[in-house]
């Protein structure tokens, strides 16, 4: 469904992505682990096209999209959420979801009718609001709701495009353990045929939702396998789990 081949990127002298080759099957749920600065977000940026790789290819649903701009890849069914909330702050929760849903249903460009009041858009907004548990806040302004709700909305906006592949960059970053557990349910309730690639620091959550785990360190894939193998991996313990167990 989503594949990278020998993806490489450097900023100046630092190699942030080194020869990364990944392959996600349809419906696969993969978690990316790695210490701070390992190049996880930079990898996402290259997957969606916000940053051009120096070398390598990105293949989405069998199509080479390396040369395609962000919006082109989005139209093919690739969607992402951001590590740092990237919402429409001055608008309501409903309008945030509505903007995304009007793209999904092809109303983003008409000059004849209000895209946000269309039946199909409203249905999608409702469904997604339920999926990410923001139903009670629909009419509240984004700047008025709590950080946790904004975090859920961040995923909701990405979901409202009804993607084939969803990339989530640390959906639980900055939220407490209770909310993290909430995200577990949220992820479990997502449709099974949706391909998920999740960057996650919360190890319990990571092991609970992952079909497969990839570990990045200094821009390099140092582990790629099942959660069981990941737990046993000596390498993983050395570079990452050590820090986690201390925490």
């Amino acid at each position: 469904m989503l594949e990278t081949r020998n993806l490489s990127k450097s900023f100046g002298a630092i190699n942030v992505t080194r020869d990364v080759s990944l392959k996600l099957e349809r419906g696969e749920r993969r978690v990316i682990l790695g210490p701070n600065g390992a190049g996880k977000t930079t990898l996402f940026n290259q997957l969606v096209g916000e940053i051009r790789p120096d070398k390598g290819r990105v293949v989405l649903a069998g199509e080479d999209v390396t040369a395609l701009p962000v919006q082109g890849r989005a139209k093919l069914g690739l969607s992402r959420s951001y590590q740092k909330n990237t919402l429409f702050d001055g608008l309501t929760v409903e309008e945030n979801l509505g903007l995304a849903a009007s793209v999904t249903h092809g109303h983003w460009h008409n000059i004849r009718y209000d895209s946000l009041t269309r039946r199909d858009v409203r249905d999608t907004v409702r469904e997604v609001a339920e999926q990410v548990r923001v139903m009670p806040y629909l009419h509240a302004q984004v700047s008025d709701v709590s950080y946790g709700v904004r975090r859920q909305l961040e995923v909701g906006v990405a979901l409202a495009t009804r993607p084939l592949v969803l990339l989530m960059d640390e959906p639980t970053s900055g939220v407490g353990p209770e909310m993290s557990a909430g995200f577990h349910d949220l992820l479990n309730d997502l449709p099974r045929d949706l391909t998920l690639l999740i960057i996650e620091h919360d190890m319990d959550l990571a092991f609970a939702v992952a079909d497969t785990i990839t570990v990045l360190n200094y821009g390099e894939v140092v582990f790629d396998g099942s959660p069981e193998d990941a737990r046993d991996s000596k390498l993983l313990k050395d570079i990452y789990l050590g820090a986690w167990e201390d925490a």
Binding site: Q71, G90, L91, L99, S102, L116, V145, V157
Partner: protein, 340 residues
């Protein structure tokens, strides 16, 4: 995001009533003033569409209005086209040109966008000034008004012309608010709030910007074609960048991103100009002081100030503040989600 509010409707009704009353009862000079305000209001609505809802602060809208005026004058006087055809032609040609300007400038932001639009405006100005076909410094005179006698309207009558200008203003207000509430306008507002996210959602950002800029240019051209008919001649001064600057002042004075605010701004600006310039040559000084006062007051122009004063009327339906408060109470009751 554009929202209808009761305050907006009340203001609109009040302005319409006053305008019609003035156009019906005023003497010659008063009627001319109504027309002048209507034309300026059309221009500033066009500017507010892109500046207030897309963050595209344009310094070429004066030139776009000038282009519309010149296109109308050229098509009637030089090409001998029937005035209604010339009007449509002027709007179409200017619209196409502004679409291109939007497509090119839309790739830049902030001060760079402003400078790029200024450059386009200056190019148009020097083109008109230096090409003999445009009549140079003298401009083009003998510009005819549209003949509406079939429907019983004689546009050569000042009062009738004022009413037709007001009708065009009404149509433009409706069109602008309609487009801003349609998918295109919603997307443009989304881009203003977060361009990166809109792109990630699959929106062709430059296309939205170019299309809205094109529509805005068409409206500016309509203002220009009206102005050309009003004074029955055109001169290069119409394309001067100071016209664009003045339009921006009017938008900010009235309330950026409110559509109705700039209309109020146009009324205040023109009335002030006439009142103050009757007493002193330094009327720009007075307008400048008022603008500084408005900007320092931290309200969004005159309409923004009204919205603050009459906040109960300024609430869109359903009242989102009420719900937001309810939500806050719910959150406090649950106590599970705290702000980071």
């Amino acid at each position: 995001m554009f929202r209808h509010t009761s305050l907006r409707f009340w203001t609109l009704g009040l302005i319409a009533a006053l305008a019609i009353w003035r156009a019906l009862t005023a003497e010659y000079f008063g009627v001319e003033t109504v027309t002048e305000i209507a034309i300026l209001a059309i221009l500033v609505i066009a500017l507010d569409m892109v500046a207030g809802f897309g963050g595209m602060v344009s310094l070429c809208h004066g030139a776009l209005m000038g282009a519309g005026a010149y296109a109308y004058a050229m098509l009637t006087v030089k090409a001998g086209l029937a005035p209604p055809m010339a009007f449509a032609g002027a709007v179409a040609v200017t619209g196409a040109a502004s679409w291109l300007i939007g497509a090119v400038c839309g790739r830049s932001h902030g001060i760079y966008f402003i400078m790029a639009t200024l450059a386009f405006g200056q190019m148009a100005y020097s083109l008109v000034f230096e090409q003999p076909i445009f009549g140079g410094d003298d401009g083009i005179s003998g510009v005819p008004r549209i003949d509406l006698t079939i429907i019983g309207l004689d546009l050569n009558d000042g009062r009738t012309f004022a009413f037709v200008s007001l009708a065009v203003l009404g149509a433009v207000y409706w069109f602008a608010t309609h487009v801003l509430q349609a998918g295109l306008g919603r997307s443009l507002t989304g881009i203003m709030h977060n361009e990166q996210r809109m792109r990630a959602l699959g929106v062709n950002v430059w296309r939205i910007k170019a299309d809205m800029f094109g529509l805005s240019g068409m409206i500016a051209a309509a203002a220009g074609a009206l102005a050309a008919q009003h004074v029955m001649f055109v001169s290069p001064g119409l394309l001067n960048w100071t016209v664009s600057g003045e339009a921006l002042v009017v938008v900010i004075l009235g309330g950026l991103g409110t559509i109705i605010g700039p209309v109020i701004g146009a009324i205040v600006f023109v009335l002030l100009k006439h009142e103050v310039s009757a007493h002193t040559d330094y009327w720009h000084l007075v307008v400048g002081l008022i603008l500084i006062a408005v900007v320092m007051s931290r309200a969004n122009g005159i309409f923004g100030w009204l919205e603050q004063r009459l906040s109960r009327l300024a609430r869109p339906v359903p009242a989102r503040d009420v719900i937001a408060n309810q939500v806050r109470k719910d959150l406090a009751a649950k106590g599970s989600l705290e702000d980071a």
